[in-house]
Subunit: 309 residues, 2 copies
């Protein structure tokens, strides 16, 4: 039976942890802010996909260091934020055979962890899930619920197959990919543009961002910059990707991006993981990205303003 | 005695009108929103420069068409907004010898009026004044109070000298310039950047916009784009202008731009006059302005969102 530790067990971590626990894994969580409720009552999960249920972790820790036995898999589900040393955060629970699983947003988020733990296997995952925390210990799963998972930097492994099988058995559709870095760039084409434009526009929903031919052309140009960076980094995107992303977004009811919601509710925004790493990759590979540079400068100023108030 | 009609007599128009009236001009106003109060009680003006006083216009009109005698000078002080036909607005009061005086923000705002009134002299003015309307008919003059005035498209004239003398006699320092279009571009270097960045950042004050080396470098790059457009349009800026503008802005207490305040209070923003005309001039002259294009796309989306709510 696999032992799993989830670090940063917010909404995504709790939902995914409960799926793994349902098929028998021993799932413990590190949960700081909701510790009191979760250690007493577990998680109350509302989910159309997994059914409404209560999830009692094997153990609930306040700190990573309280976990004395290194887990088989450590799932890191915290946000990737400037000033948060993720390697230092997880180090106390990492054993020689612990597989580190990054279920986080952004591009180029693995290198720092790979450098810190050169002997550990690293899996990288992209969650496609609409889930939120409605109160301490309460998880409200609204829509979707898939995971794209791959070995970092590429390929697959016994561990990736094992974890994918556990997710699938537990009800979370997990698609294995041999090129998870390419998958991250694909996701960044949407994320780096819509997320940051929604914020620099002060809470724009997708309908406004695609509301006029001019705004759609602008979004498209920004996406082309991301594609140029991805190609220069060795991950060329399909020529039809941008058209597909815009078409799909237009066909859905208007909605607010995760970064816009973070902005609205005063939560930290994943600017560095989603956009900062993209513009740094552009500099590294000599790609000109004036639109992304502008969006980056503006979102960083917004962050400064929030920090100052 | 000169007859003067002020169209759009908000805070700037009332303050400047009162200065002209103090030295004997016959100053009438077209004042729609505050008509009731102003026609009954005039304007209540609080001003450290002109002193606190009450300004009773010669006549107060609701509509331009009510002014039956064409004035010697028609001062247009409304905002330059998309969808507002300024030529149609003032046409009913323009006589063959009426001098049209545009005291408005932005670049390239004169051509439309010059085309509509090819036989009238046009003066163009830039107000440097901090003044607001605190209640109907109440004008609160906080700081500065100068006017840069010139004949359009260039040079000077008997009319420009006459009007400047009246302003100076009335207490508003009026500086005549032979190159008012160049002066507009100079002002746009600051306005097109700080105004639009303050809005796309959701109410950033000048201190945040110049808060880090990165943000300052970004502002500088945006200003360089405006300078490149100005140069291509035949109005090269002094090489030290950007450094001076940034230095001066840094040395002042943090403040909010006029566009940020318009945004905050839900008032129309002068995006087209300040930034739209700049990017259109860039296209016309083949200048690449990716930062300004991005700021323009974002501010237009913000405007769309406001219009939709």
């Amino acid at each position: 039976m696999a032992s799993i530790l989830i670090v940063g067990a917010g909404a995504v971590g709790a939902l995914f942890g409960s799926a793994l626990a349902r098929q028998g894994a021993q799932v413990s969580v590190v949960c700081r802010s909701d510790y009191d409720v979760v250690s007493r009552e577990g998680y109350d999960i509302i989910s159309p996909l997994l059914g409404n249920h209560r999830f009692y972790p094997h153990e609930v820790f306040r700190e990573v260091a309280e976990c004395r036995t290194p887990p088989d898999f450590l799932l890191l589900t915290v946000k990737v934020l400037q000033g948060v040393d993720r390697a230092a955060l997880i180090r106390p629970a990492i054993g020689p055979r612990t597989v580190i699983v990054l279920i986080q947003n952004g591009v180029d988020i693995e290198a720092e962890i790979a450098a810190a733990f050169p002997d550990n296997e690293i899996l990288s995952g992209l969650a496609l899930v609409g889930v939120g925390r409605s109160a301490p210990g309460m998880v409200n799963h609204q829509t979707m619920g898939q995971l794209h998972l791959g070995r970092y930097p590429e390929g697959h492994s016994e561990a990736s197959e094992r974890l994918a099988a556990m997710f699938n058995a537990g009800g979370i559709g997990c698609k294995l990919t041999d090129n998870v870095v390419t998958a991250r760039w694909q996701k960044a084409v949407w994320n780096a543009t819509f997320n940051t434009v929604s914020v620099t526009g002060g809470m724009l929903d997708t309908a406004v961002m695609l509301g006029t031919p001019e705004s759609t052309a602008f979004i498209q140009q920004a996406m082309e910059e991301v594609c140029a960076v991805a190609a220069a980094a060795g991950h060329p995107m399909h020529p039809k990707l941008i058209g597909q992303l815009i078409g799909t977004t237009k066909s859905m009811p208007p909605y607010h991006t995760s970064m816009a919601l973070d902005y609205k509710y005063g939560r930290p925004m994943e600017i560095e993981a989603i956009l900062g790493n993209t513009v740094r990759a552009a500099r590294k590979h000599g790609v000109s990205t004036p639109i992304l540079d502008t969006l980056y400068a503006l979102t960083k100023m917004i962050e400064q303003r929030i920090a100052a108030t």
